[in-house]
Structure formats: structure tokens, C-alpha cells
Amino acid sequence: MIALLALLAYFALMLLLGWQAERGREQSAREYYLAGSGLASVALFFALFGTNCSPFVLLGVPGMSYHEGLAIFSLNAPIIALGVPLLLWWMGQPARRLSLELGALSPAELYSRKLGSRAVGWVLFGSFTLFTLPYMVTGIAGCGLALESVFPEVLSREVGAALSLGVALAYTLMGGMRATAWTNIVQGALFLGVILLVGVLLFIALGGPAAAFERLLAERPELSFLDRDAPRTEWKSFLSTSINITLTVACFPHMLVRLMAARDDRSLRASMRLYPLALALLWLPAVLIGVFGALLRPGLEGKASDGVFPWMVGELLGPQWAVLGTLAVLAAAMSTLDAQLLTLGSMLERDVRGVRRKGGERLFLLGVAVLTFALYLAFEASEVSIFGLSNFAFSGYVMLFPTLVLGLHWNGLTARGAVLSMLGGIGTLALASLGWFPTLGFQPVVPGLTMAFALAWVGSLGGTGRLPRPSAQATNRRRPQNGSTSQPRGSEVG
């Protein structure tokens, strides 16, 4: 009963925040898609943090740490904690500024206008869609699994997935970016709070950190250090993983659009400085839950270890509060899902359909949600794993990195170079994944990225491929209606 009430309260709170976000707001596309470019420090931080953290951190990280120990923290957390905020800071400043100057509301629209080519927008839109839809499917699949585990006789996996998607869609439809920023504050605080609580209770249950780690060294010493002979830590694999996990986040369109919604550089800077601290607070307990889960509940094989976090919540908080683990997973999934829905909806409206009528944006969001659920049903009927689908999406995003970063920092990049880079990178990744392109022992993402950079440069050589770039004023004169370039109204979010 407590579980059902907690779930209903969570959903009701999300819908209430969505409704509140809509009330009394200006009805413009910039307000809807970018919160009027007014996200201040706290809202921006939680929007970025919540969007970046998916159920992978709550389920996948403890699951991997269960088998591989503290090495999972060593391989991932430090490089994410430095690389992601550095890249977001480096890309966020020009992206935010250009979004205002060019009146662009979606990432594809930003680069299309910057490079003066609709082809760039189309290729970016296609690539973002290709990699974001599978990522969204993994999110709602996680929600379905989490709800089914708590309410096995009431909710099937498909109904649980539909319910989560429906609630995320409803509040996003109502309040757009502002609604997702507000809900992300609650969701981020919820999943961070739950995992910290479980981490603290874990040490209390084991008699304190000293006793806990002494027991670890006595019973499972192999989980307490980085084994240099393991395949995962071989230098080519280590380097490939580091490149993949760092660059992919900077290429998420749903992260880029958050950066474009920042109120000013000061908000962006404050968010970036908080990011490593929050990441350490999230990853450390996630890894420790997995490591000590291996002591407290040994014998889980393969993917069964993904259930170690919900099991630990039930053990440490008691069965009546086990729903908190489910709510944390839902919060992590929905905080990513809402941003993805909004971003794909904005690109569909702005870059493909070109419709700029009032209220049109909501129709496109609905279309994206329906398409996502249809793909989810196909996924459930297939043999594809969540990990496999995520891996496909993450590697694919990295192929867009040269275009996204050079488009902001190198004036020599042409539309031809950008299109060649994206298509060539994705093609090379596909060939390398199939074994038809030499990888020299690296993961396919490395040759793909190298090719993407090389083609961006080669394609931008000479003058024939260069398209005239319209000045900001000229662009604004041409497209003034919904991509309003007016300055933020000063209304602070958060």
C-alpha cells in the first residue's frame, strides 16, 4: 500500500510541477523549448545532471561493480567527472551565445544556421534521431522492469513502460523545458538522496568503513584494486572507453539543448563546478553497493547482478520502503526521457516540418512519444539487450563530435566538411563494428572518430565547399517569428 501511494504521489508531483511551469508563461517557441533561455544555476545544474544520469548509474554500475569491483570507479568516474564538465563548458558558452544570435531553438537548427546549410540540419537531425530513439527505448524499458518488480501482479512490463512514458510526456507537453527543469530538480534530488542513503546505511550495517573494507580485503581482495591484466584495463581498451564515455555526453542533443537554455555564462560555470562533486556522490555509493553486494549476496551470475541495487534497498531499508529504489530508478529514467522527448520534438518541428504555428510543438512531442513506444514494443519482442542498444547509441553520438565542436570553435569548417564528417564517421563506425575496417586493437569508436575528424578537415579544404555564412542579423531578419531572439525575460528558473 505504501508503495502504491508513493508511486502515485511521485507521478502527481511531476504533473503538478508541469502544470505550474505552464501557468502564466509567455506562449513562444523559445519559452517552450528553451525556458526563455532563462535557466539559472540550480535549475541548469539539475537539468544537466538529471539528463545525463540514467538508470544505467543506478542499475548498470552496481551490476558491473558486483563482478569487477572498484575498477569500475577507476575506469569511469574520474574521467567523466573532469571530461564532461570541461567539454560542456567549452561547448556550452558558444552554443548558448549562438542560439540567441541566430534564433536557433534546436541543436540541428543551430548548426544548420551557423554553417548556412539545410543539409547539415537534416543530417544532424537524422543522426540524432537514429541514436536517441534507441536510447529512449532503454529508458522506458528500465522503467517497465522497475515497476514490474514492485507491482508484479498489477503492472506488466509494457504497462509500466507506457505509464512512465505517459507521465513524462504529460508534464513535458504542459510546460516544455521549464517543466522538465523543475521536475529534474526533484528527480535529481530523489535519486541522489536514495543512493546516498543506501550507501550510508550500508556502512552502518557493515560496522563502519574500516570494518567494511577490511572484510572486503579478507573475502574478495580482487574487487579492491585495478587488475592490470584484465582485458578491460588493457591500454587500447582503456583509452577507447575513456574517449567514448567522455565525448558521447557532449554530443547528446538533449544535453546541448540544456546548454542553449542557460541564462548566462555564470550559470553555466556554477553548474560545471558542481558537476564533479555530484558525480562523485552518485558514482561512489553506486560502485560500493555493487562491491559490497558481492559480499552480502554472492552468486549472482551475468545480468542478474543488475538487480543488486533494488535488492540492497530492500535489505537496508526494509521491504515496505523498497519502493524508494524503484522511484529512484524511475526518476533517473524520466529525467533523461523528458529532455529527449522535448529535444526530438523540437527538431522534428523546427528542422523537418518547418511549422512555426502556435501549439504545433505539442503535436510533435506526441508523435515522438508514440514512435518511441512502438519501437519499445519491437525491442521487447526482439533479442536485443539494453546494453547492446545503449552501446550502439553512445558510439554513434561520438561520430558527431568533430562537427559539433569544430562548428563552434573553428571558422574554417564548411557545410561540406560537416556532412562528410558525420556520414563518413558513422559509416566507418559501422564497418569497423562489422570487422570490415581495421581497428588496430582499439574499439570501433576510435577509427570512426579519427575518420570523422579527417573528413571534417579534408571536406573543408579549398573554397568550393564553403557556403556563405549569413550574418546573425541577416539570419534573424529572415526567421524572426518563433525563434525570437529577444533577451530572456529575467524570470529565473530555480
Binding site: Q93, L217, F238, R269
Partner: protein, 64 residues
Amino acid sequence: MRRLRLLLPLIALLVLHFDFWRESRPQLVLGWLPEELAWRLCWMALALVLLWYWTHSPETEREA
């Protein structure tokens, strides 16, 4: 020169991250913290300092 001041610590941190010369062992630092975890947490503290410096630098802060 200013850009070099930003890049050199970044390169140093990356080298420290890919610490292939370091032999990690199952032992506790200060009697309670695994050596591997202590090393990575120290690295993250250094990274945080670099991040504050980087985001504060006039080179990367065009407007505030």
C-alpha cells in the same frame, strides 16, 4: 601562453589517469580506505581544482 597553462595540467591529469606504470595492490590507506579508491579520489580532487581554474580563466570566460 595562457592556453598552455591550461593545457599542461590537463595533459598531466590525463597521464595520471592512464597510470599504466602504477601497481595497484589490495591494501588499505590510513587503515580504512583501499589504495585504488584513495588514488582516484585524489585525482578527482586535482581535477576539481583544474576545473575551477579553467572556468575562471579569462581565456575561457568571454562574458560573465
